[in-house]
Symmetry: C2
Subunit: 360 residues, 2 copies
């Protein structure tokens, strides 16, 4: 069986943070229904990202400002385990669909709100995006060159939505034991703040300071590519120095004054020559791949990190007994509206009327 | 009740990836025992990072190479829900403590292995660190200046251990239903590969391309500090342009040829002046904080992201009914050895002998 077999999730979110949260749960076997505005569904539709994190979900269009739309949502809530929403704090309450209302319809419902700054505090009503959340939580300030903070390649704030999935899982487990629902308040700024402090405390501790040390760094090769080395332990650095015939550098493992010499050494061979030379040596030397190279790396292919061809994402963790294989597609806007409404007992004519009234 | 009340976890890991995984579970209420080598426990002890991610755990020293040490571990396994290990693939099997052996002692045990490249594939036996996993999985290749890939501030590979916690939670839930244990294989490279592809597909889609656009960027202020703006939506950018009296720039939201002019505008006021000016305007303008500033931000303080003073980490998600507050400390090496052995029925003399024989 799947891990989340028969777990029903209503997803009122769009773009990256909420859909990433429910992507995780969907891959673990939950049934996820995207509840989308009939006029404008998830804005990310059309981008490759949409396909990536919406595979396997269903789409129901629903106008939550109309009473008939609210009624349908509440009918679904009474049959669901989890509702995830990503509106600005307070919006769902104004719609008359706050946690207090939802739990009247289903006392076991687990509601997860994902927002930029959280449901409380002085910034709760302020709009923002990933770049803002990582500014406030300190990550952007430490992700920098000598001149300027630099936007990380990863939208780590948005991906903080993953902590929503983790918190939902913890509460699904607990609910099996005590039968109670819960309200979960995920602030992307809080999540990044937590990650920031791990990085920052690591930077403060000399032993973890990467980046500026000969033994843990990125080096340019003869062919203008790059290799990385992570030889934090003496044995790996010794192996490296001995292999290049430079035992004299063993003592320079953490000595940044040796950096220029080591840069020079790396510039003498191509990336491929370096990788070939260290294929059988335990010295933590790896190629720094350009994006397209990743997809053909033998380990990445062997582990099926990506669904080759479509470049979709498989669930990034493997289980011995349980498969997370998933060949489903991302839904078109409203693709499953009729099917879901029929499941609630609506007839063809009623559904037609709901369409005419622009409820669905 | 805590979410993971009475969930017992044995943690055979060290440094960041495994301890981060079990930190999450500990914060959610699980009992975590660090099982450490008596001669050399978790190497990170002494660094601020150790305190941060080991609060609330217990420490048992145990020599797993001795039969009497293995016996104690197996006795604990029979009473535990989860075992997490982070040795190089194959090591735990060589110790005679692989999943097959563990499940003979407890068929409900959930075992999670966290490794750099995974338990399978051509790189399984290769040593590495965070820098290597992010090289292979593509993240380092896209986290770059025009000159070179740049090590991200966040050890995102190591933090991939968090997916171990998520997978353990999913299996704890499932186990309540089907009663079966599971073996979980977390590869940090796989996890980062998955995150990389989300970032990469986002980069490929114009609408998500941050960093190079006037409306979503980092700007230097008059006092050599920085602000960030995330005005991806027209309304926020319009608010920005109107507020600075430059309606002519409204059309330049996504026009990088306007960048120099916007840089010049930002250089005319201090960071504080900018923030004050936009305090009441919905334009997604935020200060880029230096690390120490984060701890005194009003939102961060209001949300109690950090345990102020000690700068420890609170669990980054809030729950309505359930508290994750935790005032416990990180354990000294072997601090709980006697207590744990007594719980297994060992007497004072037996414990003394185990110490003399260097088993614990």
């Amino acid at each position: 069986m799947a891990m989340l077999k028969d777990v029903k999730i209503l997803d009122l979110t769009r773009l990256l943070p909420g859909p990433y949260c429910t992507w995780i749960l969907s891959k673990l076997g939950a049934d996820v229904i995207k509840v989308e505005n009939p006029n404008m569904g998830d804005y990310s539709r059309g981008s490759p990202l949409y396909e990536l994190i919406n595979v396997g979900k269903k789409s129901l269009t629903l106008n939550l400002k109309k009473n008939s739309g609210k009624k349908i949502l509440l009918d679904l809530v009474s049959q669901s385990d989890v509702l995830v929403e990503g509106f600005r704090p307070g919006v769902i309450d104004k719609l008359g669909l706050g946690y207090d209302v939802l739990k009247e319809h289903n006392k076991r419902i687990i509601v997860c709100s994902i927002s930029g700054y959280g449901q409380t505090g002085p910034y709760r009503d302020i709009a923002g995006h990933d770049i803002n959340y990582i500014s406030i939580s300190g990550l952007l300030g430490i992700n920098r060159t000598s001149e300027s903070p630099m936007l990380p390649a990863l939208q780590i704030g948005d991906l903080g939505g993953g902590f929503g999935a983790l918190s939902i899982l913890a509460n699904l487990y607990r609910r099996e034991i005590d039968g109670e629902g819960e309200y979960i308040d995920v602030s992307m700024t809080d999540v990044v703040g937590s990650l920031f402090n791990i990085a920052y405390q690591g930077l403060l501790a000399e032993t973890f300071s990467g980046g500026l040390l000969p033994c843990c760094n990125i080096y340019k090769t003869k062919d203008e590519k790059f290799v990385s080395i992570g030889a934090i332990e003496a044995k790996f650095w010794n192996n490296f120095c001995i292999s290049i015939g430079r035992d004299d550098l063993i003592k320079a493992q953490y000595d940044s004054s040796a950096m220029e010499e080591i840069k020079r050494i790396f510039s003498e061979k191509t990336r491929e020559e370096w990788i070939k030379m260290f294929k059988e040596v335990d010295a933590t030397l790896t190629p720094v791949y350009s994006p397209e190279e990743v997809f053909s790396d033998p380990q990445v292919m062997s582990r099926k990190v990506f669904d080759q061809g479509k470049k979709l994402l498989n669930f990034p963790v493997k289980f011995l007994r349980i498969s997370t294989k998933d060949d489903r597609k991302a839904p078109n806007l409203g693709e499953n509206t009729s099917e879901i409404l029929k499941g609630l007992g609506y007839g063809e004519d009623e559904i037609k009327n709901l369409r005419i009234e622009k409820v669905v």
